[in-house]
Amino acid sequence: MKRAFLILAVVLVPILGLLAWTTPLAARESDTPTSLYQLQAALTNQDGKSHGLDVYRGHPVLITLFYSSCQATCPLIVDTLRVTERELTAAQRSQLRVLMISIDPERDTPAALHEMANSRHIDTSRWTLARGDASTVRNVAALLNVQYRQLPSGEFSHSTVIALLSPTGELETSSSTLGHADAALLDRLRK
């Protein structure tokens, strides 16, 4: 009988563990009602590591959507994020994190994201390039109010939104400015 329990435990524990592990990440009991971190998002970064939308929980985060094969707007998004960072003090900058999520999960494999991180000299200790499944991308876009659609050419048409999330995941402000730092966004970042 004891042995049966032992077998049961040996079998059950890994199964339960697996169930817990496959349950999507991110949401926590302590999340405030307006925290975007309640979204159960399944993202994978440029190194193939899985994480939730809350990968930078505890830090102010700039979140934006992009796709790596994009020729015009998306390089500008990286530039705009950099210009914004440069306006901050070193101390503020060291706190800030950047999460860029691809709207093109089919082509933006972790390898493609890795390639982009290299070619654009992105510091992946503070920035993350991530992809998610189609459902995750739709939900994130809906939360950030980003409009996007795939064109017959395979390219995407999308509105540009750079959103600032608080350390606990509340949407503080969002900007559609490209090319230079948004004054309102900087105001919130300096607070």
């Binding site: 049966a4 077998i7 049961l8 079998v11 059950l12 199964i15 169930l19 999340d31 009602p33 307006t34 925290s35 975007l36 309640q38 979204l39 994009c70 020729q71 015009a72 707007t73 459902s135 739709r138 939900n139 876009a141 809906a142 939360l143 109010n145 980003v146 409009q147 996007y148 659609r149 064109l151 017959p152 050419s153 390219e155 995407f156 048409s157 999308h158 509105s159 540009t160 559609s176 400015t177 490209l178």
Partner: protein, 274 residues
């Protein structure tokens, strides 16, 4: 106990536990299998859309899919929120549903008496999406919905028929009463789908694509062109007011919004379900 007996027992325990674990995983699907409305198979195809995918492409192509024959009802949705309490109105995260979410129900998991067969409304896009995903399905895309919405009783595409068009417009002209009709009482259309017109607005999967005109890509500030261009979105088939009204309604909604006239139904890729 010899070694073979031991390993046989271990194997049977393994099998039993795996079955239990699988049963637990699929319990939801099983519980809903007989309650879910049967879906109609839609062969898909290429049709002239009111929302052209690109400036030089006026048609949309839809792959074969399945669509719920009727909108999701209050009773259906009550089963969902009972199984997934995080979607009950007093527990739902505010980012996923506004203050009016299911507020017309008698209780957090209980619709008002006698409304079980009415379409569920006052549900956000996030909630509708979660409901469909729990059924192993998804919301239909706009093009899928538009394809089915173009059908009359006898024709796959009745949009050129003035009488059919008028019958739809009559619904929009009718003042909204306090009570919604029950689902499944209208005539099935060409695809065997009911209540597409004349009942509620319906959420679509690609809600976030409704306001993007194909020509704002990579040109200056996309938001400037979006707002400037929103009155001049490249709508085709301008005489098809009913469809344009639907697009206008959908594009005025954010994903957490709810409305007493917005419901939904689910769809699935045809290949995914035998």
């Amino acid at each position: 106990m010899n070694r073979r007996a031991k390993s046989t027992r271990a194997a049977s325990v393994w099998t039993a536990m795996t079955c239990l674990a699988l049963a637990a995983l699929f319990q939801d699907d099983l519980a809903h299998a007989d309650a879910a409305p049967q879906r109609a198979r839609v062969p898909g195809g290429t049709f002239a859309t009111v929302l052209p995918p690109a400036n030089d492409i006026k048609t949309a192509t839809v792959r074969p899919f399945e669509l719920d024959r009727t909108p999701v009802t209050n009773a259906d949705f009550a089963r969902f929120v009972t199984a997934h309490p995080e979607w009950q109105r007093d527990r739902v995260a505010r980012v996923f549903a506004d203050q009016s979410y299911l507020l017309h129900w008698a209780g957090p998991s209980r619709p008002a008496a006698g409304t079980g067969n009415q379409p569920v409304t006052q549900v956000s896009w996030f909630a509708a999406n979660a409901y469909c995903e729990a059924q192993g399905a998804r919301l239909p895309t706009w093009y899928e919905w538009e394809l089915v919405g173009a059908a009359s009783k006898d024709l796959a595409d009745a949009r050129a028929d003035p009488a059919w068009r008028q019958s739809i417009l009559d619904w929009y002209a009718k003042p909204a009463g306090n009570t919604l009709p029950e689902v499944g009482r209208t005539e099935p259309n060409f695809y065997g789908v009911r209540d597409i017109h004349g009942m509620v607005w319906e959420w679509v999967l690609d809600l976030g694509s409704m306001m993007v005109s194909a020509d704002n890509r990579e040109q200056g500030d996309p938001n400037v062109s979006k707002f400037c261009g929103s009155g001049a979105l490249s709508f085709e088939e301008k005489e098809n007011y009913a469809m344009l009204m639907r697009i206008a309604t959908l594009s005025s909604m954010q994903a957490s919004y709810t409305s007493s006239t917005m419901g939904f139904r689910c769809a699935a890729d045809a290949a995914a379900k035998p």
